[in-house]
């Protein structure tokens, strides 16, 4: 394959056959299989239970299952489209334009990710309806009260607002390093801005965009908190109803198996859309030149960012603040949550590290050594991502008790479950990072007699690190707010912030729940700020 000339930023794609289909080294294959073990656990259990229970639908008529599939599909599609559009826009505005205070906006565009969907949904309910905090404001200015936010549009808004930062976080690093020279050349040759975007920018974004869209779609399948609180019927809600209302857990697990099939359809469809594009850019550390905005464009851009921030961050934060204030004014004591914060942070760190470690070999197998079986490794990871966390937690509970009792109720099994639940977040980021590493660099290093491991350490890993850091941050935040599996698997007494919020909210002690939720928001914002404002090296 041709080595890009010194001034070049983008490799010619001619060498892709040679790169994409090299035989997988045995040690890498072993690491890849090891990395996928946590993701296999829940699916294997679902298959066993499905067979054992004789595939009963738990008295739920087939017609109802179809209705659920349709309502779930509609929400998934609408959420994915909206979140992808919003996240791409915020990423582009904050990385490529001369927007005032863009680091601040970049941070604000990612913070909504730290809001657990059940907390967000709770604040949507708390804002609307007759007694709602927002209703009081609209009523005071003569607009009347808002109707209760419920149903499809409420669930769509909640899942979009608190998930679009996935797209922002995955797309922004790509935009930051994309080949500006090519864009300028296209503009210089007379291409319109729109044409340039379609022919130069979009193809480079496609892998990141499609990974992000898949994250959103499958998360929507797995979400329980938002749809349940906002009264919208989905598959996952039906699964929880079966679990909560029964002593026999097999119907809930059987329905989860049906959900995996639904997820596989989406995963395979995404694979088709993504195609086989492999792009390698060499990022040079040269800062991209920001695109100047006209006064009108600036007003529009700031208006858009303000609106999104107000809805995704301002609304939940102010409703939570209102609840804390209301409780405090009734003399309700607010307990400290320092220990819970440290525990959540520890779990987040361990899980983020383990997930990135698992994602790395899988990224190499699926990008540098693509084959039929590597595709299945990816499919397994993504299918598990679509499962309700309750099902994943149950699977690890059963496996730990029966096969590895030493790990039961320890951080080991908890972290393994986190890896299973969030691997695609790390994998998507690692794959995107690796796609943008020029294989010629690695080959040159190998050609000079440097070992594969040293090449990885000195060349590939440093180039991937900004993308990996973004992936680690996403996993960290997901773990901070994870609840159902944490409840089942944590060491006894290992209460995290999410557990504290649930514990108070389930007793309708809103003041205490809100105080803990505000701490979660504040604490999670710190790593995000560091990550987002760090310049690429």
């Amino acid at each position: 394959m041709a080595v890009a000339p010194a001034g070049g930023r983008l490799a010619p794609p001619s060498g892709r056959m040679a790169v994409g289909h090299r035989k997988t080294p045995r040690s890498l294959a072993f690491l890849g299989l090891l990395a996928i073990v946590p993701s296999v656990v829940p699916i294997a259990l679902l298959v066993v239970v499905g067979v054992e229970s004789g595939a009963t639908t738990a008295g739920i008529p087939i017609r109802r299952l179809l209705e659920l599939a349709i309502s779930t599909g509609a929400l998934t599609l609408a959420t994915t489209i909206a979140a992808t559009a919003i996240g791409t826009t915020t990423a582009w505005l904050t990385t490529r334009t001369a927007l005032p205070a863009r680091k601040m906006w970049a941070t604000l565009s990612t913070i909504p990710l730290v809001i657990p969907s059940y907390v967000g949904a709770l604040t949507l309910l708390g804002a609307s309806g007759n007694g709602g905090a927002l209703s009081r404001i609209t009523d005071a200015i003569g607009l009347g009260t808002l109707p209760s936010f419920r149903g499809f549009w409420a669930a769509w808004a909640a899942l979009t607002l608190w998930n679009y930062p996935f797209v922002h976080l995955l797309v922004a690093p790509v935009l930051r390093r994309s080949a500006v020279v090519l864009e300028e050349a296209a503009r210089g040759l007379g291409a319109s801005r729109g044409r340039m975007f379609a022919t130069i920018v979009l193809p480079q974004l496609r892998p990141a965009l499609s990974a992000a869209a898949l994250l959103i779609a499958l998360y929507t399948l797995s979400d329980f908190g938002a749809v349940s609180l906002l009264g919208y019927e989905t598959f996952t809600k039906a699964i929880y109803a079966q679990f909560r209302g029964r002593i026999d857990v097999s119907p809930a697990l059987f329905l989860s198996a049906v959900l995996v099939v639904l997820a596989l359809v989406i995963i395979v469809a995404e694979r088709r859309i993504r195609g086989r594009a492999i792009l390698h850019s060499r990022h040079t550390g040269e800062p991209t030149r920001p695109i100047p905005l006209s006064r009108r464009a600036k007003v529009l851009a700031l208006g858009f960012l303000t609106l999104v921030t107000l809805a995704a961050l301002g609304l939940p934060a102010s409703v939570l603040g209102y609840w804390v204030w209301r409780g405090a004014s009734q003399g309700i004591p607010i307990a400290g949550v320092g220990a819970e914060t440290v525990r959540a942070g520890l779990a987040g760190f361990l899980a983020a590290g383990a997930t990135i470690a698992a994602a790395l070999p899988l990224a190499f197998i699926t990008i540098r050594h693509r084959s039929r079986w590597s595709g299945w490794l990816e499919n397994i990871a993504w299918s598990t991502y679509s499962l309700p966390h309750l099902a994943v937690g149950l699977a690890f509970l059963v496996v730990a008790i029966r096969f590895v009792p030493v790990t039961y109720q320890t951080l080991v099994i908890l972290v393994a479950a986190y890896v299973a639940m969030f691997l695609p977040q790390g994998l998507g980021a690692a794959q995107t990072a690796l796609r943008h590493v020029q294989p010629a660099l690695e080959e040159a290093s190998r050609g000079l007699g440097v070992s594969p491991i040293a090449t990885f350490r000195k060349i590939t890993f440093p180039l991937m690190s900004p993308g990996l850091a973004a992936g680690a941050a996403i996993v960290f935040l997901s773990v901070m707010k994870e609840l159902p599996a944490t409840l089942l698997l944590r060491p006894t007494g290992f209460e995290t912030l999410a557990v504290r919020i649930w514990s108070a909210a389930s007793e309708s002690l809103y003041a205490r729940a809100s105080a803990a939720a505000l701490v979660l928001l504040a604490v999670s914002s710190v790593p995000l700020y560091v990550l987002v404002t760090r310049e690429p090296q």
Binding site: G131, K237, I332, A339, R343, L487, A504, S506, L509
Partner: protein
């Protein structure tokens, strides 16, 4: 990477130091592992009091009662738990039916009227929560006469239900025991046809009722009292259905000792503590539930327990109808 490792170590040390209830220092009084379906917010002060009074350290695992019952059934004989305290009679019943509880001594069982405990003494009732109809007098001048009246067109589109919530399922399980499957399904279908507003839990129903978004709903009694405590005052009112009506099911939270318990004396002492006068008074004043020990009082503004209609059922039997109740709820299209 080099910076991250010390940070993780520091966090690990800090987390161990913050172990809280997870790793209390060794007290001479022994220790106890409690699986609590009651939330930490409610019972932590009580656990602290027990630890101070007895010197026994309690390691508590908090989660939903359903999660804990499932966990116990999976753990089987290897369970580390000594005591299971369930929020709900059905899940205490499930563990009892699996033969995992050891019958409690009479000194403990005699503290509480028989109808609030397992008929074979495998778990004892600790507190009771009453199902009520919460309504807003400004939106609905009079409450319904009985639970069947809620299927009348008068209530169409006006009431809130939380069909997948544990308490609702427990109430339907009781209805199956008391009225039979056909009548229960008929009622559920009547409710489903009456365009109810579906909620996730009791608490949003109470909030929506108090705000006037809906006229009323089927809930547990104490949510209104807690809302009043947090908000200062409320408009909504709790109403108990008249005698024999399954809509006024009394649901108890119950505690039992695992037959595989290793800390048996401590476990008995803890359960005994739960039904002591002192702690029964705590339940009344702090979490607004009905104490079960006679003469311990009644939550403010509520019908006394003795006057509440009792369904003629063994509470552990709720475990045998809960799965069927969930199926009927789904069949009626209420999930």
């Amino acid at each position: 990477m080099k910076k991250v490792i010390p940070l993780i170590l520091a966090l690990a040390v800090a987390a161990t130091a913050c172990g809280g209830s997870g790793a209390p220092e060794d007290l001479s009084g022994g220790s106890l592992v409690l699986y609590s379906g009651r939330s930490e917010e409610l019972v932590a002060p009580l656990i602290e009091r027990f630890e101070t009074e007895t010197g026994i350290s309690v390691e508590v695992r908090y989660a939903g009662s359903g999660e804990l019952a499932t966990t116990l059934l999976q753990e089987g004989e290897g369970s580390p738990a000594d005591v299971f305290w369930s929020q709900d009679p059905a899940f205490a019943g499930a563990v009892a039916l699996a033969g995992m509880f050891e019958p409690l001594p009479d000194e403990i069982l005699d503290r509480v009227p028989d109808r609030f405990s397992d008929s074979q003494g495998r778990w004892v009732g600790v507190t009771a929560r009453a199902r009520v109809f919460v309504y807003n007098p400004e939106a609905a001048p009079a409450p319904p006469t009985d639970i069947w009246a809620l299927t009348d067109p008068e209530w169409s589109g006006k009431i809130g239900v939380a069909p997948t919530n544990g308490s609702f399922v427990a109430f339907v399980s009781g209805m199956v025991l008391a009225e039979g499957e056909d009548r229960t399904l008929q009622w559920l279908q009547g409710i489903a046809a009456n365009d109810p507003v579906i909620y996730d839990g009791n608490s949003p129903i109470v909030a929506a009722t108090d705000a006037g978004d809906i006229a009323g709903g089927l809930v547990n009694h104490y949510y209104l009292l807690r809302l009043a405590n947090e908000q200062g005052s409320v408009t909504a009112v709790n109403y108990s259905f008249p005698s024999g009506d399954p809509g006024s099911l009394v649901m108890v939270s119950g505690a039992g000792m695992l037959s595989t318990a290793t800390n048996r004396d401590e476990a008995r002492r803890f359960i005994d503590f739960l039904v002591s006068d002192e702690i029964q008074a705590f339940f009344l004043s702090e979490i607004f539930e009905y104490p079960l020990v006679e003469g311990a009082g009644t939550p403010e503004g509520q019908t006394p327990l003795a006057e509440l209609p009792s369904l003629d059922i063994d509470l552990s039997d709720l475990a045998t109808t809960v799965d069927r109740a969930t199926e009927l709820i789904a069949e009626a299209g209420l999930t």
